[in-house]
Symmetry: D2
Subunit: 328 residues, 4 copies
């Protein structure tokens, strides 16, 4: 039978995402609500290993619900990939009396959590925190909604210039191997074309589409390119290719970059983070382990970490069709 | 058998909401995609009656996806409540060759649409556009997500002052009879208490909660009050009551008002509007009538207008519990 | 000769304003730069009296340059208006070894500072922090620029609704007895009329102006009303008066309220605060006292506190003319 | 004596900047106010040459005060650099009865205006519109203030990630040969170091400064780099150099790019644009030509175009000192 849980550690790992602080706050306060001790662990798995722990109470997380980044810092840990590293982590957690972990991050984070949990029979629940939305078992990862708003606001600004100068802009957005950000912001910003890794448009069809757009009287165009898309080797080569073949276009590139990762979380992400933190702690208290909390059909649900890692968050192809219809 | 549809009218009615323009754009462009004529109808049902129509093509809706308000204007029509009004509306629609309507608005809008559609066997599909989220048959109405962000950003600003001066703020938010906006923004902004019409907290328990909050060391507090809440007669009397009973608090009121209705729509609302417009037009083309398009489990679904009007969009009580846990 | 200054106290008093934290940060870091000790004093003059002091170093003010409100809290103090209160304040400052004060606030704050400074020959430099811009000796007070942006963004949102519904909106903005916020935001938001205390338009001319605006084909209108304006007894009575006399208008009121006080400061306010903090500390180190630092012709200048309090920051009447030209 | 002016053309040229639309609006409405005809000229000098003109009245510029970009479009014209091009421009202006020009842009725009004006004795007044603030004769160019806010908001977001991951970020901002944007946003965003073309810090001193920053306990750092700075060949090589010499830093680069050019103008830029438009038109009506309107000591002043072009807008070196003090 599972050991009673009296002290929970909470940590963030991997790339930071808006809403992580709101999730930390929720974990800490849910612990307080249930009279469980809560320990903040700094710098991801490196902090777990090195014992970089600090007790947290309801006041410790005051005023952070609307802050980007993570007050617990984040890192990618090489040492945690070694048996020795995880052994040391376990020893330090035990010494500190920590009975269970809530780990906030993406699939790299969950992979580490799963291995560790099995090796030491240590209870772990994951909260999906990444702007990329590339996790199976939740319709939205923490930070995804905020990143979408950041991106469409940026594209709105770039469109001011594009339409003032009759230019074609290739705008690269984040998302790693997944096209969720590109697809949603492409539709949301009214992009003329959206290039995502899940659908190979091909350079020929891109050129054709841009020609059609030009002929239909559009004088400026926005193409949103997922960083994982491989239509050109990268967005700069894509620009060169198009400029070579469509000399009448003045083509520019904008790589939105790290602004997509930061910023005050949207209301959606704050509410989602609050719900996920409650669910994560209460799942641990009910003896659950090796699950990820997620939003499915607007409800909090658990998915085995193993599935969350291996599964694929599928792209909503209906949106590609919507984009096609909007730009004809 | 249903008459073939060759010309569709689109209109907005009732209170405006962010995303209405994105929905108009989507309706117009989906018509263009299917080689259907599209007619913009101005000023809601008054415009239907008076024949205030203008043909629209893909270019007519350029650059509006990110604009608040509605380029077709909106109004509440008294004349459309009369048989004569609706008769005249039908005659003018017929004269203009309009075969079907897409009507964007809330339950008042849909009630009018349903009566009209039945009287004249006129095909109508509704798109739920209101910040209040009080429509059955969709998890999100157009504008709701944007309004949530507008409200939490406003409360974040007020909290700067509240915590600098150790004050208690009652912040009234919109939502008519429903507490969706209050509940979500209350959680999202980390409010100490949330007052919604769906749950009668009672003045005594409010005072107790505020006392507890004070004793726990909090020096400032935010209480989010839904405009439909009846705990006090209104938010100003609520303030007076609390000041009388808790003299150590410096209490202020902020009625957020009409800023909640405007602004550039969030990415979520833009995508939702684009999807709804496609679904609305294509449903008409498939011979459907008297339905509302909605988002259910992240998919576009149809709900009979009758149900959409009579049904009740239920509040997510899980969120009240989350709020309680966050503030203990 | 003036005593050498080795320890400086910094405090905020009166209404909070965006940029106060940036000013605190600047004072603290300028002290560090000159190897002077810096003491944060909490809750304005109440804190001075009660000895609510905390040593601050360069790290204490990390990450606050972009935060609204004031980490030192603010308050209006009744006790400091008494001789006993000020005596106690002096004793506690002396006990703590504090040689001089930088006080951030408005004219109430400076009045207290001046009296205190004279009574005890205690060096004081003031930094003008108020959104109202009603201080003589500086073209911009801290927070004014940020408040202008907050207000025009709010009016932009309200205009979405106003123009969608053909409405007339009276929007009340802050500013106490001064019309600076109303005048600048009225021009910036393209208001049809601007009502400020410095210029009595008169109800008749307001009605005439609104009629002219209506006749010229405008279907919606925004009137910005300074809270200090006395054309109607208040903005709600103004609405009633206009509705009575111009029945064709659907008139609404929006009181923007406390959102104007908060929020992340604009770049302008952050730079201004940084400059003012440097100037304040270095003025004290040069033996100056009873001055306010201010921005005059883009340079940092000193104005005697006495003048800053008694002088009047004059309204830029050129702007009223610009507004008239823009709306004809 | 100068010919009476009855018809004024207005145009935008060069890179677009927030506030250009507000300036167009002001020119158009000031013409209406003085019963002067106003003609909008599209696509900069190319449009002047090709006769791409459209009459504008007060209604034509409705709802644009808060829009980024320029409704008149902008372009850089090669043909206008030829005598033939300018001859054709003059002929088309004459044919259209246009007596004078208001031209909104940067020094390239003014250079063309000056040559043209002298060749054909054609009255021209310039309005400085560029985010770079690199024009002599005005403390602020149109769009500068807005760009500063866009940049500090972007850096605030990037700092979330920087401090969550203990990273060093090089952030490249616009400004062409001038460091105004970098200097102001560097101070406003609390950057650890600011690299501008006007001051050669040198790579050695940059490394030293970063080392000192690291030793003082800072775990993350932001360096703002003006695009015109030549400390490294470009920001990417700068990164490589620093990574090579300071292996303990995880260095990232962000090129903010075109988001800096767009967006809704700040209140400051809207007011400035409104004032400048009035001054430009009324200066023409008073017989002035070959001047630029500018903001000097908060007043509208005229500067000969020749000086505006040749003069140099000097950087505020006080700000560099402020930055040094803030980061020690």
């Amino acid at each position: 039978m599972a050991k009673e849980i009296k002290k929970i550690g909470v940590m963030t790992s991997g790339g930071d995402a808006p809403g992580m602080n709101a999730a930390i706050r929720s974990v800490v306060r849910t612990c307080a609500y249930h009279n469980i001790e809560c320990i903040g662990i700094y710098r991801g798995y490196d902090g777990v290993i090195e014992g970089d722990y600090k007790p947290m109470n309801a006041r410790s997380v005051k005023g952070i619900i609307n802050k980007g980044g993570t007050i617990l810092k984040s890192a990618r840990s090489d040492v945690f990939r070694t048996v020795e590293g995880r052994k040391k982590a376990y020893n330090n957690l035990s010494k500190a009396g920590i009975d269970a972990l809530v780990t906030i991050g993406g699939d790299g984070t969950f992979t580490g959590a799963l291995i560790f949990s099995k090796e030491f029979n240590f209870p772990v629940i994951g909260i999906p925190g990444t702007i990329d939305n590339d996790i199976y078992g939740t319709s939205h990862t923490l930070g995804f909604d905020t990143a979408l708003n950041t991106v469409v606001e940026a594209i709105d600004k770039i469109r001011d210039t594009a339409s003032s100068h009759n230019r074609l802009f290739f705008i690269e957005v984040m998302g790693r191997d997944a096209g969720h950000i590109a697809l949603n912001t492409g539709v949301g910003a009214g992009a003329e074309e959206i290039l995502i890794p899940e659908e190979d448009l091909g350079l020929d069809r891109l050129l054709e589409s841009l020609k059609r757009s030009k002929q239909s009287g559009k004088t400026s165009s926005i193409v949103v390119v997922a960083e994982g898309d491989k239509i050109g080797k990268n967005v700069f080569e894509l620009r060169d290719y198009v400029e070579e073949h469509m000399s009448y276009y003045d083509v520019r590139v904008s790589v939105l970059g790290h602004i997509q990762r930061g910023g005050s979380p949207s209301c959606f992400d704050r509410v989602l983070a609050s719900r996920m933190g409650v669910k994560a702690v209460e799942s641990l208290l009910k003896g659950k382990s090796n699950y990820m909390v997620g939003l499915l059909n607007n409800k909090m649900e658990l998915t085995p970490l193993k599935q969350a890692i291996k599964g694929k968050s599928t792209i909503n192809l209906e949106l590609l069709r919507v984009s096609d219809i909007m730009t004809t």
